[in-house]
């Protein structure tokens, strides 16, 4: 930090097990990725190449190298996994992970119908060689799960080998744990937290109000995902209570 402010909340340090920030890259150029690294390296724990943007991005090899050199783990968005398995290309997908020497993979079923046993089987297979993050929740606004179902899915996926589970929100933040309006389903989150250890969950929270809500509920070291690269500095100030939205929350009385 550049100077000293008294009585700020403690932040976990890298490598973090809680208080993670997962950033979504949905098509940065190499120079833009370097710019992001300059600002966000210390505050970023893992980077998702959003959905299947890696398929059409001209600079994939160079970008993966760039993030690797900066010590930032990268994974392909779950929609790529889904696009390939729905087409019977799971083996191709595994070869892809090999070819690009990926150390993380996301297993999700936000856009396809997948028996949960089968999903857990994918997690089991992949987690033997790679760190698996799995995502719970549909991208379909119509598909709303009851809290006990969220809990069962998360628990089963963690047991199958997921390092962390992600609570779905999409890039836009309006499905899964959020209402259409972006508002948090508070009762759902509260109930999940009675059963699943907090440090096993990454909450997708692309909107500022969502980040603020989770920071107030869980604290500076909540794990948040789908953070836009430009929001990495603003998010860190929210976690520390030095932006108005969380200013009073962290003030010692």
């Amino acid at each position: 930090m550049n100077y000293h402010i008294n009585d700020l909340p403690d932040r976990t340090a890298k490598p973090r097990n809680s208080g993670l920030t997962m950033v979504m890259d949905k098509g940065l150029s190499l120079r833009q990725a370097e710019d992001f690294i300059e600002m966000g390296e210390g505050y970023t724990d893992v980077i998702k190449l959003g959905w299947a943007t890696s398929y059409v991005s001209p600079n994939l090899d160079a970008k993966l190298k760039l993030y690797k050199d900066a010590g930032l783990p990268v994974y392909f968005g779950g929609t790529l996994f889904e696009a390939m398995i729905v087409r019977g290309q799971f083996d191709d997908y595994c070869r892809l992970l090999d070819k690009y020497q990926m150390e993380y993979a996301e297993v999700s079923d936000g856009s396809i119908d997948l028996e949960h046993d089968e999903k857990c089987e994918y997690i089991r297979k992949l987690s033997k060689q790679i760190t698996v993050i799995s995502e719970v929740g549909s991208k379909d606004v119509q598909k709303i799960f009851a809290p006990y179902k969220w809990i069962n899915l998360m628990r089963a996926e963690l047991e199958a080998g997921s390092w962390k589970v992600i609570a779905e929100a999409r890039e836009s933040g309006n499905v899964g744990i959020y209402r259409d309006s972006g508002e948090v389903r508070q009762g759902l989150v509260d109930e999940i937290l009675t059963q699943i250890p907090e440090e096993k969950i990454i909450w997708e929270a692309p909107q500022k109000a969502q980040q603020v809500w989770f920071i107030k509920l869980i604290g500076a070291n909540v794990s948040l995902g789908n953070i836009a690269p430009v929001d990495i500095i603003p998010l860190e100030t929210l976690r520390l209570g030095i932006r108005s939205d969380t200013f009073e929350h962290f003030l010692k009385k």
Copy 2:
């Protein structure tokens, strides 16, 4: 593409006559324009320097050279044309096109009242020396045209020499073919498509939901405009059905 996914929709290749993407540059620096080219060159067919941003942009010559070297045609937004003809400066405007060796020009009347015969006369004159794109629809939310009028205007402008007609939406996507809320006027679009060849129209679609709507209606190779530079990679994934919004639409049953 970086790897193989089975059964994706075919995309037209450059130079494209359908499936065009028109990107709006509203003030990129040179380096930002280079970053955009790195990611978007293969997916971009034409670039609009939004409204009269070219008037105040410090780097105009260098930027035009940069896009030219990348083989990306550029044109000045129609509001510049309007700002000059409403001030009696049509000759100045023509000299401007010469001076900057522009190969495309936009003729529009979104902010001024212009007899349609006169508009077509401008199209006729300019199209003798330059590729003309003309825009139909007002930027004024109060001015709503009936479908038959849209059709007559588009037909007359194509006959006058326009290469393509653009269906107005502004940078924000809330006028012309959209309601104030950004929602598509579906009946209008359907009716236009019964009379005007689909490949002659570029639909301004700055918002993701609008892009999705047109891709679902017309297919991967619909021509879309007013795309933000940062959306060039995301849009390409929407066209290919590898982002959740169009994932199921393109899935072979």
Copy 3:
């Protein structure tokens, strides 16, 4: 300007006393700051490092030097001032201004309760050595002041030594002089303008509709703040009436 358009409104030139644009940097990398300077140098009068982003930004020294070399004055957002004085660190804050050789400082009370006499005392002290900009209005949507109170606060702060007063809106533009929806509190603005000289006020106006509203009310040379770096070119076209939103307003009849 790159070419000539007749009958555009006159813009004040730097160093400006009215028609100022204050830009908010909330975490630009060095290269992004250079890109901004390339486009915005001539149109920008002062830069705010938003709230306490300076605390967590890795490149602070280099960025301050970069802006200084470009002749662009910089100040730390008022939330940093508040975060330090609420923790009894006013002396630390002064040392910070010294250490970074800041020429401007913001005094605000948007996130804390501060007696107005005390706030004016801070303004008085700081303005002996540095140019002070003070901000009026709460970041709390619940705290709505009557117009006479805005006027009294502004007047007292100007008398205490503020160079300009800023009318609060936050980065999002939905508090202070705006309703929750972002709409301007027109009666409030009108009443303020009957008592406080227009050129002493910088109106925070992060949203385009807000910029348009103030330009139409006060003219091309209204002072606006919390402008995003990417909006510097678009804003200049609004001021000149060469974007549709203000096109007709500035047209000579």
